[in-house]
Symmetry: C2
Subunit: 324 residues, 2 copies
């Protein structure tokens, strides 16, 4: 850790908050810097404002800045300005290299003992490198990628998968609860990213498996509903089938009934499958179906389907069949 002095300062800030509580002021009001106000970050920051926090946002996009102002956040001229004096910093960025670059830039300007939360979905190695940078600067840190998509971000119903120390998680939890419904502490630094990519690897594999079963069933004259009725109440049951059914009909709310508008796009699924493969390459884990799923989504996205919902792969698989 970055030394006793900074820990002391953090304790001082806690004492000050406790004092506020005793005087009856809103003890939950925290100054939060939010960097990355895109499709996910924008509504997440708006929910922090709604929860009564003072939110100082930063994004390169003027449109994102305008939206943040309308939601009640202030907008800083730079990431460094946003984090100055903030208790908590949230980053929501595209990839590990962005997170590392931004944290490297902002950490010298962060208050001693500040808490940094990265909610981006990034590779485990970068997440751990970011944790190490924060620790060296005397800051607490949590990797806290989300599931639930843009809809969950707007509704404040995201799931957060968090990795970091118990102390950091304890400070992060009330902040995350303002943006999500379920907050899971998965383990130490990087465990949140690990949980997310492992979950999404299961998801990508099971979706292709379900899609293959429907495509095979069609060639055998088996109706979608009959396969659904059997598998949904049997050992083939899975979220990809019973909540997100890739063919129209059995689950009226699934994207298959809406022209495969995402939902969760194939290119985002591909991103997560590639992160799982990057982790497996680093650690030496054997993930044969995860590797194949990544290749199939790469082919699917590469043939122009990246913006469609990831369940649309059933149409592509069906189209690959010959001899019917």
């Amino acid at each position: 850790m970055g030394g006793g002095l900074r820990a002391d300062r953090r304790a001082d800030r806690r004492d000050a908050r406790d004092a506020e509580e005793h005087t009856g002021r809103d003890a939950m009001t925290t100054t939060i810097a939010f960097i990355g106000l895109g499709n996910m970050g924008g509504p997440m920051a708006a929910n922090l404002v709604k929860a009564g926090h003072a939110v100082r946002g930063f994004d390169l996009s003027p449109a994102a800045q305008d939206a943040a102002r309308e939601a009640g956040a202030s907008v800083a001229a730079s990431a460094t300005e946003a984090v100055s004096g903030a208790d908590v910093v949230v980053t929501m960025l595209p990839a590990g290299r962005h997170v590392k670059a931004v944290w490297e830039e902002i950490l010298p300007a962060c208050a001693a003992g500040a808490l940094l939360i990265d909610s981006s979905t990034i590779d485990v190695d970068s997440a751990r490198a970011a944790h190490a940078m924060a620790e060296a600067a005397g800051c607490l840190s949590i990797d806290a990628p989300v599931s639930g998509g843009v809809g969950g971000a707007a509704a404040g119903t995201l799931t957060f998968m968090a990795g970091g120390s118990d102390a950091a998680f304890a400070e992060a939890k009330p902040v995350l609860e303002a943006m999500g419904r379920k907050i899971v502490h998965c383990g130490g630094p990087g465990a949140g990213q690990a949980a997310k990519i492992c979950n999404n690897m299961i998801l990508g594999i099971s979706m292709i498996g379900v899609a293959e079963a429907f495509a095979l069933g069609e060639t055998l004259g088996l109706s979608h509903q009959a396969l659904f009725d059997v598998a949904s109440t049997s050992s083939g049951q899975c979220w990809s089938l019973t909540t997100y059914c890739p063919v129209p009909g059995p689950v009226p709310t699934s994207p298959a009934n809406n022209g495969y508008e995402p939902g969760f796009s194939a290119e985002l699924m591909l991103k997560d499958l590639r992160l799982a493969q990057a982790a497996a390459n680093t650690t030496g884990a054997a993930t044969p179906l995860g590797a194949e799923a990544a290749q199939l989504y790469a082919l699917f996205a590469g043939q122009g389907h990246g913006g469609r919902d990831f369940s649309a792969i059933v149409e592509w698989l069906r189209g690959m069949g010959v001899g019917k």
Copy 2:
């Protein structure tokens, strides 16, 4: 169909049963021939006896014959003798070639309009060929493979996936209900086999996917319980995870907690995955993960693990990792 005469005879038999009903005798008593009294067939036949049916069994194994006698069935000297005068014939045999050979042998001895139920898990082509043989002989037929294993067979809680005409299904249903809890009419001839192999292809794929996720998570320092807690309540949820978890701990009843005693053996999973591949080869369906799953279970079984529960593949995948 095999002509009006046989249909008339069937109608006569139905009239006779209706008459029995009106005289107050047990209208449900049916003479049932049961061919194949093994680990599955034996307890299934016993449940037919318990339901009040007259069961005439046949099996080549003296031990299976003895068990059937103890359960209250009579034992015939040949398959042909077993089916003579029977209203219903059930076959429970290892593979499509056995079913076709037995049906070819017995059909000339079957009563006109008898109902043949094949509960074996066999390839769709053979199932359809068997249906055609029955139709040519003027008999009704249903393919009705099961899920639920030896435990479900003994407890009478099997699921039957049935394929065949509405008329055949209507006659089969009360017989199947004596052996199972859930009876699904999946469609025409072969649809029961199609539903089973499509379901089990999803199952084999999702089990490997879950196993890969646990194996990858381990190398990333993610605890089994943390991954379970995230995925079981998220988009990675599947039967392979939440009912049959392949690592010890999270689901105390899963075979992982019992040294991977089956349960459902790897060699039976391999059989079903190969049946799915055989069907895909016939119809031209593209099933890339189904093909890979079949290859992985072939490697697993070929290296001496065929008799273990199929969820034990997590140990094998873990052992394949390098660089840890």
